[in-house]
Symmetry: C2
């Protein structure tokens, strides 16, 4: 059993990892080797103490070097869910692995992309965030895929191998998907609708001559870099999309802490780094 699992490899997660290591705790840091698309894309960081006027790329490189120096590895698996049970947590990844831990630090960032109406309502009833987990459920069916980043394009291939028909709504440039059963739609839907389950995706107007404004689909996949914390962990108290935390970064779930953008504004590196540090200290106190 691990002391802690950290969900997210942005600066909040990295800060927590460095401090948990300094405190001699066992942990896994879940994220991507590139750390964070948000950091990478930052043009110029002017107000992070200690690094004067660095680019996002330089900041990322410095963090990667630091993790290497500290021999902290990034567990490159996508977290599908975290379940609290009997004073421990079970973390499931989209790769199908499970991990057990006494505590959790959620540092999963914040959705910069607005949710679509009906999205939260239909989670588990046709709306999915995980191609690997749920793709096979749509064998021979019609699905829509809203993909926010080129990095997740490979998941579309996976979905296209199961579904009979895929409507892809990409939110990035240079789309490089070319499967016979994938049709690209260049308009954003406004609503996911249905009765017991998802039945259709609605647009303000027909997005293409041969596609109706109310497109019948069996499921909608939202492929995003970060999944909202309340989707990751049921029962987590959130307010306006942010995890509610105390000054010690504790959430309403015992043993679960949160840090960084997912806890609210300001969305700043310094703030995220601070909360990650505090979360690691709070975990250490909690484990005593």
């Amino acid at each position: 059993m691990l002391d802690c699992v950290i969900v997210g490899s942005g600066v909040a997660g990295i800060s927590a990892a460095l401090t948990l290591q300094a405190n001699g705790k066992s942990f896994l840091l879940f994220g991507t080797p590139s750390l964070s698309e948000k950091i990478e894309k930052a043009e110029l960081i002017r107000n992070y103490p200690g690094l004067s006027q660095v680019s996002g790329k330089e900041f990322c490189a410095a963090l990667q070097k630091q993790l290497q120096d500290a021999k902290i590895e990034i567990k490159n698996e996508k977290v599908a869910g975290v379940y609290a049970l009997n004073d421990k947590f079970t973390l499931l990844t989209q790769e199908g692995n499970t991990y057990e831990s006494r505590t959790v630090i959620l540092a999963c960032g914040v959705e910069s992309i607005k949710q679509i109406e009906g999205e939260t309502e239909f989670v588990g009833r046709g709306v999915s965030y995980c191609a690997t987990c749920d793709g096979f459920l749509y064998k021979g069916k019609t699905i829509a895929v809203v993909c926010t980043t080129k990095r997740l394009e490979h998941e579309i291939e996976h979905l296209a191998s199961f579904a009979e028909k895929v409507y892809l709504i990409p939110m990035y440039k240079d789309v490089a998907v070319d499967y016979k059963n994938v049709t690209i739609i260049k308009k954003m839907p406004i609503k996911i609708d249905g009765q017991a389950r998802v039945e259709k995706l609605a647009f303000t107007a027909p997005p293409a001559p041969d596609i109706p404004a109310e497109l019948p689909v069996h499921g909608v996949f939202m492929l995003r870099d970060s999944v909202s914390p309340s989707v990751l962990m049921g029962g987590l108290e959130t307010k306006e999309g942010h995890v509610v935390i105390q000054r010690d970064t504790s959430t309403n779930i015992k043993g679960c802490f949160a840090a960084g953008d997912c806890t609210g504004r300001p969305y700043q590196y310094a703030k995220a780094v601070g909360e990650g540090n505090v979360a690691a200290h709070s975990v250490t106190l909690y484990l005593r």
Copy 2:
């Protein structure tokens, strides 16, 4: 009128300054050109994201360069007190200057030195933290001076020029004070005592053959790098020596925010940097 005054040039104060500047606010950053003795003396910093295994000296140098790059100057005056009146603050320095500001960020660090019994009780009634402010009050009198750092040795000279007799209790090595009317005591006192005002300084036993365990003095000067926030600002809510703040770093005094070690544990650079950043954002919101 300034938008903000920042008290303290440790990482919390610097973080606040960088972000206030990014937000286009006018401010003064009060501190010392060496920034912080605590940072300078740190052997190895292992858990500050972005800087892998730096020494305190290297961290200090990086911060100084960053302030230079950003053209932020340190106002090298010691803050004697901050007074809230009619939605503005007046800051007094030991150098005798006053500054007016709409908000304050207290980032004055934490006393690593335990208070002496009676110290807070007799503030303003014989206990002083400011040689320049109060030295002349003890012309021809007997005083004790508890000095925690060599950096403040020059203030002893100032006191010795007024007082008839000075008992110096240094808390550092290499004492280089050599005035006829200064006697060095190498034991720590346990209590400051008196009726209406300070009358004596008590030791567990006579600290020297010719010095009694209950030493009669008219005043006690505590020369420290950082003054406790509740001494700096009357009416400030503190708990166990720390300023009580909310998640947005606001204190019980409207327009007064606090960040860094003065708000409590963990005493960590990352946490201080985070709170400094949040304080600057809260000031910006407050000023709207």
